[in-house]
Symmetry: C2
Subunit: 299 residues, 2 copies
């Protein structure tokens, strides 16, 4: 199966599962709020992180249906982070995946609380016996996801990004600082998705570390491609505003390196990601393609 | 030891542990953000929920030092909820525990992200082997706390509370609706704290259910007392603004029932809470006193 097709059909099954999980969760909530949570999760999205969970777990012989709840939990974390990042006091975005952002479609308090509920739901899912029969695995999943999402990971990335934007230091930010922010903000959860697959697959520490590194390089490639698309793409194809980073004076790898060197860094990240997969041989074909996909959508 | 003294000395050891947990967490974060997280957690607070975890676990022979991490995790959830509830788009509070609320001391985006980080940290703590050696217990803790905190629990309570305030229906809200909101908003996490103690103590399903019901009645007593204090207390003693519910036209049990009947409901809640403890006999002395404490601070 061609990669894009595989990604698309995984997205379909992940969305089915997310819909079911949100319906179950929403049955306890009130209708308006349940609809807001569905908007946050179900409106668009490539489901790239759940795809990485599923394909990483597949390296260890696991089938998608046995890891889909953990994959969905990771996507809930991703969606919560988008909802909060879009808020007026943060990135102030009106459009996401071609649709109004949650605080535009509803209001700020609903958006903040829907994000909170999704973050909480992710951990509820990870701790359920239906997610994995072994409590030690569930506990390890929770620990890995919390570490990647929290004050030492994704949230820290968002904090550093906003600090650089709102309290800029004199001079342009160093490329190392920008890369660190990107690694935390985008890379943490992408690397974590690959690690979740490894944990579910009871991978050796070496394989788990390799998948985590693969995810970190992949995350960097993903982010540079995103920045290139923002600098060069058009809003209609992307379904979100473009040229926004430049308009905000936001430091990105593209603004720091220029387009040509950013493209080089993108290729390097793709190469390093692929290198980490060497030990898995041809079994890792889909993950190799995922790195190509992440990097080459900016071409 | 007198109850107030016991509560105070537990607060001291809980704060020590929270300080250590936040220092460890903050070592991965940046200094400004780490300070914001400390502000959210360490400035004031009775530590009533960790106290309930510790005293519920004590019923099953557990020592405070063996359950303090789980107790601290529950307090992190409580503190995150206060930070988000205080935001301008929600309750818009400037003062909390006699100090500026987090978005006043810092700014909105820092407050939202500090809340997110604390919620995430709670689950990271709950999933660590140092919190409990048995992964099945850790997984059960995570599940119970997530269910109590999320879209079917505390977050739902906040949603319903804000919906009633921002999109009021014609006529005064029914007392049943107000009680449901309070039960979710305050009761869920208080009941959960007692359940966490039961889970750590590997309680029988009956004992766990009794402690959860105790916590629900206690939560109601706590909330009615809070509303009475808001209606009658003065800001200086309380360290937060008073008369705010009335000024906002917020429906509370006190506004719906009047002061005299609210006092009666408070006594009923205290009595029912105590009744749930009967099976534990004199072992539950401290929890009986906790119900008295929750109810009688409004006298």
């Amino acid at each position: 199966m061609a990669f894009a097709q595989r990604l698309g059909s995984t997205a379909t099954i992940v969305e089915e599962r997310l819909k079911a999980l949100l319906t179950e969760c929403g049955s306890k909530a009130d209708e308006r709020f349940a609809a807001a949570m569905r908007h946050a999760v179900l409106v668009g999205g490539k489901r790239f992180r759940p795809f990485l969970v599923i394909e990483s777990a597949a390296l260890f012989g696991l089938e998608a249906r046995n890891v889909i709840d953990a994959a969905s939990a990771v996507e809930c974390i991703h969606c919560y982070s988008l909802v909060h990042d879009d808020l007026p006091c943060m990135d102030d975005d009106d459009l996401r995946r071609g649709h109004p952002t949650l605080h535009k479609a509803y209001d700020e308090w609903t958006a903040i609380l829907a994000g909170d509920a999704l973050l909480t739901l992710a951990f509820e899912i990870l701790s359920r016996p239906t997610t994995h029969e072994d409590a030690a695995v569930r506990s390890e999943l929770t620990q890995a996801v919390a570490a990647a999402a929290g004050a030492g990971g994704m949230v820290l990335g968002q904090i550093l990004d906003l600090e650089a934007e709102k309290h800029p230091k004199a001079g342009s930010p160093a490329i190392e600082d920008i890369q660190r922010i990107q690694a935390l903000k985008t890379g943490s959860l992408i690397a974590c998705a690959c690690e979740v697959g490894a944990i579910l697959g009871r991978a050796s520490p070496e394989d788990r570390a390799a998948l985590s590194l693969y995810g970190q390089h992949l995350g960097l490639a993903f982010q540079i491609a995103d920045d290139l698309l923002d600098a060069e793409g058009d809003a209609e194809t992307l379904g979100k505003e473009t040229g926004k980073d430049a308009a905000l004076g936001k430091a990105t790898i593209v603004s720091a390196l220029g387009i040509a060197r950013a493209r080089h860094a993108l290729h390097e990240a793709e190469r390093k990601a692929t290198e980490e997969l060497r030990a898995f041989g041809t079994r890792a074909k889909v993950l190799v393609e995922a790195a190509q996909f992440a990097a080459r959508r900016a071409h």
